[in-house]
Structures are given as C-alpha cells and as structure tokens.
C-alpha cells in the first residue's frame, strides 16, 4: 500500500483523471472530495461488504420457502 500524508485542501491524483481532495479534518472524521469520470464507480467500502453479507444471508433461505408461498 502506498501511504501519503496530506493536509487539508491538498489532493492526490490517481491516473490523470481521478482527484482525491481532503476537504476537512474534524477529529476522527475526514471529509474527502472525489473528482472522477462517470465511468468510475465510487462507493463506501461498507456498501460492498453489506451486499456481500446480504447475498450470503439470502443463501441461507431454507428450501421450505415454496411451502411458505403457498401458505401466504
């Protein structure tokens, strides 16, 4: 992992189209601005983790679900 130190209002370029800017540092929270082309998806990593966990939870559905539907 590349580690860089940045101060408020400084930024980092990733390639020549993606800019990550430190907008504010408030205690433990850091506000980041991201400028990227539309084709680049930006997500909080928790979103991906939550979806992965949800997929696994969905898999644990028991095969009795068809009966449940009939009971509905």
């Amino acid at each position: 992992m590349l580690v860089l130190s940045r101060k408020k209002d400084e930024s980092i370029m990733i390639g020549d189209q993606i800019e990550i800017k430190i907008l504010a540092v408030e205690g433990e929270q850091i506000k980041i601005g991201i400028v990227a082309p539309k084709t680049v998806k930006v997500h909080r990593s928790e979103v991906f983790e939550a979806i992965q966990a949800q997929n696994k939870e969905a898999l644990s559905a028991s095969s009795s679900f068809l009966e449940q539907l009939r009971k509905r």
Binding site: K38, T39, K41, V42, H43, R44, V47, F48, A50, I51, Q52, A53, Q54, N55, K56, E57, A58, L59, A61, S62, S63, F65, L66, Q68, L69, R72
Partner: protein, 147 residues
C-alpha cells in the same frame, strides 16, 4: 443436461440457457454459471440457481412488483460488459432474503441483478449512493403486477 437444484430437486436444463456472470456475485466471485428457473407464473418470483453448486440457489424477485417507481441507470461500463444494445432483452431481478414469514422477507434493491437474455450474461450491479435504494426492502407490499 441434468443439474441438482437447491429448491426444485434434479432438473433438466438446456446448455444454451446457462447465464454467465463473469464476475460472479458479490461475495461469491467464483460462481459464474447460473440458470433462471420459474416457479409459479402467478408470482413475481423466480430462482437463480448455480449450475455448478447445488447449494448456491437464490430466490429472486421482479422488483417492480414490489416497488413500482424503482428506476436506475446502468452505467456505461456495465452496459458494455453486459453487451446491452436493446433494453427489452434485459431483465432486472432482486435477490430475496427469505425469513420465517413472507411478511418479514426483504429484497435487495441496492444491488440488482441485470441479465441480458440475448447474450446470456448477467451481473450484480451496485447502484450509486446518492439515490440509494435499500439493501433490505420489505416484500410485503406487492404494488405492481407480476407481468
């Protein structure tokens, strides 16, 4: 060919019906080959079954039956990956998390499955944060029709 399925026992499928999910599903990156199985024509539900692994079978739902105004854009990258040319051959499904009762069950509107039936390929996409749809949307409100 015959495959074992999680919900429907052993069934016969045609090789040309196999859908390729190049990137697998989120958290299940190695599962790339699936088939869509219908269960009951009256219900807006289907099954997405892995061809290679009997345990990997999902109940999936036609999301517009549960949320009429569900809408999103498929970004250019995903369109290219799925070789989408005409919208009408593209299906959208949401993975269902079944609970004890139907009322407690939810569908995942945040990361829908996009399937191009022409090219027999699919992908689970993640919708952008800003218009965020829930990961667990309650199923009990059946709003639209199944068709």
């Amino acid at each position: 060919m015959k495959i074992a399925t999680k919900f429907l026992g052993e069934i016969e499928i045609r090789e040309q019906d196999i859908l390729t999910f190049e990137q697998g599903l989120l958290g299940l990156e190695n599962e790339k080959n699936f088939v869509l199985l219908s269960i009951d024509a009256d219900l807006p539900l289907a099954i997405l079954q892995s061809v290679d692994n009997v345990e990997i079978g999902f109940v999936i739902a036609y999301p517009f039956a549960f949320k009429k105004d569900y809408s999103f854009d498929i970004c250019e990258n995903d369109r290219n990956q799925l070789q989408i040319e005409k919208e009408e051959n593209v299906l959208t499904y949401s993975i269902v998390t079944m609970k004890e009762t139907f009322q407690e069950s939810t569908i995942n509107l945040l990361a829908p499955l996009i399937i191009n039936m022409d090219k027999k390929c699919g992908k689970q996409i993640v919708l952008q944060d800003n218009r965020s749809y829930p990961l667990r949307y309650p199923m009990h409100t059946l709003e639209g029709s199944a068709k």
